[in-house]
Amino acid sequence: MSSAIDIAASVQSGERSAIEVLEEHLGAIAERESEVHAFNLVTTDQAIAAATAVDELVAKGGPLGPLAGVPVAIKDNLCTRGVATTCSSKILEGWVPPYDATVVTRLAAAGAIMVGKTNMDEFAMGSSTENSAFGPTRNPHDLSRVPGGSSGGSAAAVAAGFAPISLGSDTGGSIRQPAALCGVVGVKPTYGTVSRLGLVAFGSSLDQVGPFANTVAEAALVCEVIGGHDPGDSTSLPQAFPAVSEHLSDGVQGMRIGLITEMMGEGIAPDVAKRIRAAAEWLAAAGAEVEEVSVPAVTYGLSAYYLVAPAEASSNLSRYDGVRYGLRVDAPTTGEMMELTRTAGFGDEVKRRIMLGTYALSAGYYDAFYGTALKVRTLIRRDFDAAYERFDALLSPTSPTTAFSFGDKTADPMSMYLNDVCTIATNLAGHPAMSVPYGLGDDGMPVGAQVLAPALGEVAMFRVAAALEGSLV
């Protein structure tokens, strides 16, 4: 399969038609989707119409966008006008959004062709895609293992060659962890650099949209297409997305890179840690100054996150009450209707987090839980700030292990939450981070290296990621 960049170039030059490219990818989907289950919906008809429109534009001589004719898979929590958007939840059954998310509009304007809506953990709550109401996605590298989550379908779609690029959302690691487990690149940009308009809200102060791709260069291009100010999102930063593509071949000579001590010890599988040490050694050999650095407060990230994210979720998900969207279970009164609808429509993990958040925000506990977690957020930001006084970027594993098997962690939610131990602090701080494949673990499954940077430090982050990628070629 060709890269997004090669596809766009060949479509722009008229060497290939967008329809040919689309048919090739629909063929790949027809071949393996039944075993991978990356999609909740494959949008064949809309894709054919969109590809035809691109080909007509080519015939007329343009103008053509930077992703002309490139198939893209979209996580099913991003609103798509006229195309069902389910968040892999029964509660949104039958709902069709009356508008497009800004990122979807921008991809379409760049010429990208949406091929489908990808499976996910219900409302993006999970680390394995096992919490989907429509059944799990399987890891294309080993069908007996999870693809990670919550954006498991988007990661698997790229890993299986169903689309060269896809979009996910990352609230505590939901792009980076599945990218690591599926052996692809995944980017969580700085909070506020990519519009959240039309992203179904989970944790509004944590959520960020970002891309999956096979290469760092493709991910960079997608960030530049979807990023930048959106007046429709009041948390959108005023500036354009950092110009990362032009710096991918800058190398790491003279860069200062810190290996996060707290993410290299207890709880990290030895084979994963070994690969990350190899990545650090490579960066040093390529001319970077690499040192270990302690970021003490990240140790408390997990606890703070599992108070803040559920608190925000309990508020955001109160809108699913059977009145305006999706499922309604009929009852004699509105109160009973709401209760029966929510009880039937939400899965266990969503219910757990709603209750946890409701509890953390309830009278008498607000200060002790939610208030405390917000202060810990400040500490995490401070400790990162201190590290970034000395370092341009930080390095860690993305996930403490390679892809695990189905059912391994579903009985014990706390064991599932521990998967997010390396990714969560980034979201609490609002910083960018990305996962780059860096070889295989002892089980032959992909290992991801996480590159972290300060807010709006995407140029440094992508330089390090590109160098790591280059070391494997």
């Binding site: 009356p98 909070y191 009450d321 929510r342 266990d348 014990d412 609002g430």
Partner: protein, 110 residues
């Protein structure tokens, strides 16, 4: 580092089935007896893990509710396009005369 001092937190770490029942009611969720027992244990595990925050000295630390320096973002008060009412109501569970329709609200015993 200081020892845990908040009696509220120590108490809260052992969430009870009564508290989970109350929280479920607030969140408009109905739990079976099996779910109540299972969820109580699972929520207790998470809250127990969160007790590590008690070890931190948070005196004088400002809370951080969101990560970016934007506050009071306003736009010009200019009318723009809005969602089409018919299109919105067409995908609602029930609608009538341009409104969302719900079962009776008044007279509920809650």
């Amino acid at each position: 580092m200081t020892e845990p001092t908040s009696p509220e937190r120590t108490e809260a770490a052992r969430i009870t089935t009564e508290e989970v029942t109350k929280v479920a009611k607030l969140a408009r969720l109905r739990l079976t007896d099996e779910e109540l027992t299972r969820f109580t244990g699972q929520l207790a595990d998470v809250l127990e893990h969160a007790a590590d925050l008690d070890l931190l000295d948070l005196e004088g630390v400002e809370p951080m509710a969101q990560p970016i320096p934007l506050t009071n973002v306003f736009r010009k008060d200019v009318p723009g396009p809005t969602l089409d009412r018919d299109e919105v109501l067409a995908v609602a569970p029930a609608a009538e005369d341009g409104f969302f329709r719900v079962p009776p609200v008044l007279g509920e015993s809650e």
